[in-house]
Amino acid sequence: MDENKLISAEQFGMPSREPQLMLGNEAVARGAWEAGVHVVSSYPGTPSTEITEAAAKYEEVDVQWAPNEKVAAEVAFGAAMAGARAMTCMKHVGVNVAADPIFTAAYTGVNGGLVICCADDPAMHSSQNEQDSRYYARAAHIPMLEPADSQECLEYTKLAFELSEELDTPVFLRLTTRISHARSIVKQGKRESIPVKAYRKDMMKYVMMPAMARKRHVHVEKRESFLSEAANQMPINEITMRDQEIGVITSGACYQYVRDALPNASTLKLGMVYPMPMKLIKQFADQVKRLIVFEELEGLLEKDIRAAGIACEGKNLTGLQGELSVESIKHALLGTPMPVASGVDLPARPPVLCPGCPHRGVFYAVSKLGLRVMGDIGCYTLAALPPLSAMDACLCMGASIGMASGAERAQGKAFSKGTIAVLGDSTFLHSGIAPLIDAVYNRQSITVLILDNRITGMTGHQQNPASGLDIRNQPAPAVDIQKLCESCGVTHVSIVDPFDLKAVEKVLKEETERDEVSVVIARRACALLERSTIPPYVIDGCRNCGMCLKLACPAIERREKQVVINAALCIGCGMCAQVCPFKAIKEGVRAV
C-alpha cells in the first residue's frame, strides 16, 4: 500500500524510521506528512519558513508558496472544506494578515483537518514586534497546541489534525523561535493513508451570512465548552509532582528552561494552551505551596488562572519582554545573580547588505539625493543602518506605499518630490498592489521603487509569483511586475539596473519630480543566487578619501592609511569603481 511512498520520502533525504536530529520546523512537516496531509500553502516568515520547505520534500504532498498569508490560509481552508487535510504556516505577524479568513473559519469549521502553524519570535531575532499569537486563539475561539521539543512538534501536529476533524474546527499549532530552530531527537512513524473526503455543499455551514453565522456561533461556543472540559483529561496537559514547595505551570520552550533551572519543582506542562484545563490547574494549585506561571511574552495564562480565582505569580518575576532562559528563571526564583557579559566594550556586528547586493547602489543613490524613504520589510531594511542611513520608516510588509501616500496628504504634493516608497518584489506582491491602486485612484504623486531581486531574500530565498519558479524549483508562470503596475493605472513605469549608479540617480530624480504616481523597478538578481564570474576588484593609488566606504560594502576595509578590497568577499559588482573619484578601483585578475 503505502510502502512505495515511504521509499520516495527516503529518496528526499528523510529516512522514515531511524531517529533523527530534526529542527522543530522539520518535525512539524514530518508530523503533517505522517498525518496524511494533502495540501500545504504558506508564505515564508522567520521562524516558520522551514516547515513548508521541509514539507515540499515529501512528494505526496501538494505544497505551494502563496503570495501572502491571507491567500495561504484561504487556500488551505478551501482544501480542508473540499475534504483534504491541509496546513498553512506563517510567522506571528503573518497571522495578522490571515486573521480575516481565520476568524470566520472558526465558525464554519472544516471537512478535512485544518492546521494553522504560527511561529512567534520572542526577543525579536528577526521580527518587527513581539506580539503573542496565543491571543488569536482566544479571540477566534480556536484551540491551540504548543509543543516543547521536536518530538512533540511531530506528535502535536498529528494530534492537531485529529482534533480538527473531531471537533470540526481549525487548530492552531504555536511555535516559538527556540522550538522552530532547535534540533532534538525525533522518532518517526509512517504516513497514514487518509483519503480526501467527499465535497458536500452545505450552505448552513459554509456560507457565512448573518443568519447562518449566528447558528454557527452557537456551535463555536458549544465546542469550546466541550473542549475546556475535555482539556482536563488530555494527556498532553500533564502534572508531574516533585517537591511541593514550588509548582510551575508552563508550556513550550519555557518548560525546558524550568526543568533545567528548577529540577525539583513540580510542573503542570500545558500541551494545549487554549482552552485551558482549569480543573486540572486547580487540582495542581491545591497540591503546591507556591504556584508560578512561567510564560514568555504576555502574562496570559496567568491572567486566566487568576480570573478563575487561583492565586499565582508570574510576570511580577519575569516581565513582558524577550525570552526567558534558565538563567532568568533561576534569578527570578532563587535570586541567583544574572550572569553578565564582560564589561569589555566590543564593536557591534549588525547584519549588513551582502557584497554585491543589488540593493546597495540604489540606497547609495537615494542617500546622495537626500530623499526621504518610506521603507518596507526585506533585506533592504538593512539600509536603514549607518552609513547608508537611508530609511525614515518601516512598519509592516507593504506599508511603504500607503505611508508615502499618507505623508503626501499631510505635507502636500511638494513633499513627494523628496520622498520615495521602497519595497521588494516579494513584498510588493504580498501587499503592495492595493496601496498602489489607492495611490493612483486618489491622485497621489508618489514615487514607488520596487527592488526586484527575483527572490524573497530575507527569509532565505523562497521563490515568489514573479520569480518564474515554484517551491520545488519547477518552472511557473511569472507575474510581469511592470505590466501589473501599468494596469493599476501607473503611466510611468521604468526599469533600471541597480548596478548602474548614474542611471539610478537619473531616473529617481526624474520620477520624483513628476506630479503623478510613478514606479521604478530596479531589477537584478540577488547576489547570493548566481555565483559571480567577475574577478574581485582591486584598489591601486588610493587617496584615502573614503567615498567607497559610503557604500557600506563588507568587502571594502580601511587599513591604516588606505582602503583595500577583501578579495575573498568581493564578487565584482563594480559599484565602488563607479563612486571612486580618482578612478583608483579597477577590475582585478581572476587567479587560476
Binding site: 532534538s184 553578565v340 557579559a341 556586528r349 532565505g460 566606504l549 575573498a568
Partner: protein, 191 residues
C-alpha cells in the same frame, strides 16, 4: 567533566557556514546514543551579523540553549566574535578560535575600532584559548570552506569520541565530492 556530556557554543559571522559544525556534532552524539539539542540562528543575522549555535550533549538535556558561564567549549570562526561570546564559557572552559578577522560595519565606517588582539585581552584572557589559523589550514587541505572541519578537528582532541565515529559523522554530513577535502581539514586540525 565527563567528556560525553558537554555544552558547546559555536559563533561566527553570518554566512561563514557555522551550521555544518553543529550538524556533525549532532550526528556524532546521536550515533553514540547520547541526548542532544542544537539551537540555530536562521533569519536576519545570517546577513553578516553575529551568529551563534548552541550544542548541548548529555543524558538529561532540557533547555536547547547553553547558559552563560556554562559552556565547556567555545568554537569561534572569527576572533572578535570569540571575545563577544566569552561570557558563555565556564571558568575552565576552552575557546578554540580561528584567528581570521572579519571587520564589522561600525569598524569599516570608522565608528568603532577592532580590538588590537581579542585573543589575549579580556574577556578571553581569563580562559584557555587555542588559536588556530583555520583559514590557512583549510586552504592547504583544499578549500577555504573547510574552516569548520579544521576547528572541529581541534575540538575532537578534547572529546572522547572515536576517530572512526567522527569520520562517519562527517561522511554523512558533507557532499560526497568534498569528503576527502573535509577529512583532510579535520585531520589538519586534529594533529
Amino acid at each position: 567533566m565527563s567528556q560525553l556530556s558537554f555544552d558547546l557554543v559555536i559563533v561566527g559571522v553570518g554566512g561563514q557556514g557555522t551550521l555544518l559544525a553543529s550538524k556533525i556534532i549532532g550526528k556524532l552524539a546521536l550515533s553514540a546514543g547520547l541526548g542532544v539539542k542544537v539551537s540555530e540562528v536562521h533569519g536576519m543575522s545570517q546577513r553578516g551579523g553575529s551568529v551563534i549555535t548552541h550544542v548541548r550533549v548529555g543524558d538529561a538535556v532540557h533547555a536547547p540553549l547553553v547558559s552563560l558561564g556554562a559552556a565547556d567549549y567555545l568554537i569561534s570562526f572569527e576572533a572578535l566574535e570569540a571575545a563577544r561570546a566569552a561570557a558563555y564559557l565556564k571558568e575552565d572552559g576552552i575557546a578554540i578560535v580561528n584567528t581570521q578577522r572579519i571587520l564589522p560595519m561600525p569598524v569599516i565606517t570608522g565608528a568603532a575600532a577592532y580590538p588590537a588582539d581579542p585573543l589575549t585581552a579580556p574577556p578571553l584572557s581569563d580562559h584557555v584559548v587555542e588559536a588556530v589559523d583555520a583559514l590557512t589550514l583549510a586552504v592547504e587541505a583544499g578549500s577555504q570552506k573547510a574552516v569548520n572541519l579544521v576547528l572541529l578537528g581541534r575540538l575532537s582532541r578534547h572529546l572522547a569520541f572515536e576517530e572512526e565515529a567522527w569520520k562517519h559523522a562527517i561522511a554523512s554530513s558533507v557532499p560526497r565530492a568534498t569528503f576527502a577535502t573535509n577529512l583532510k581539514a579535520f585531520e589538519a586540525g586534529r594533529v
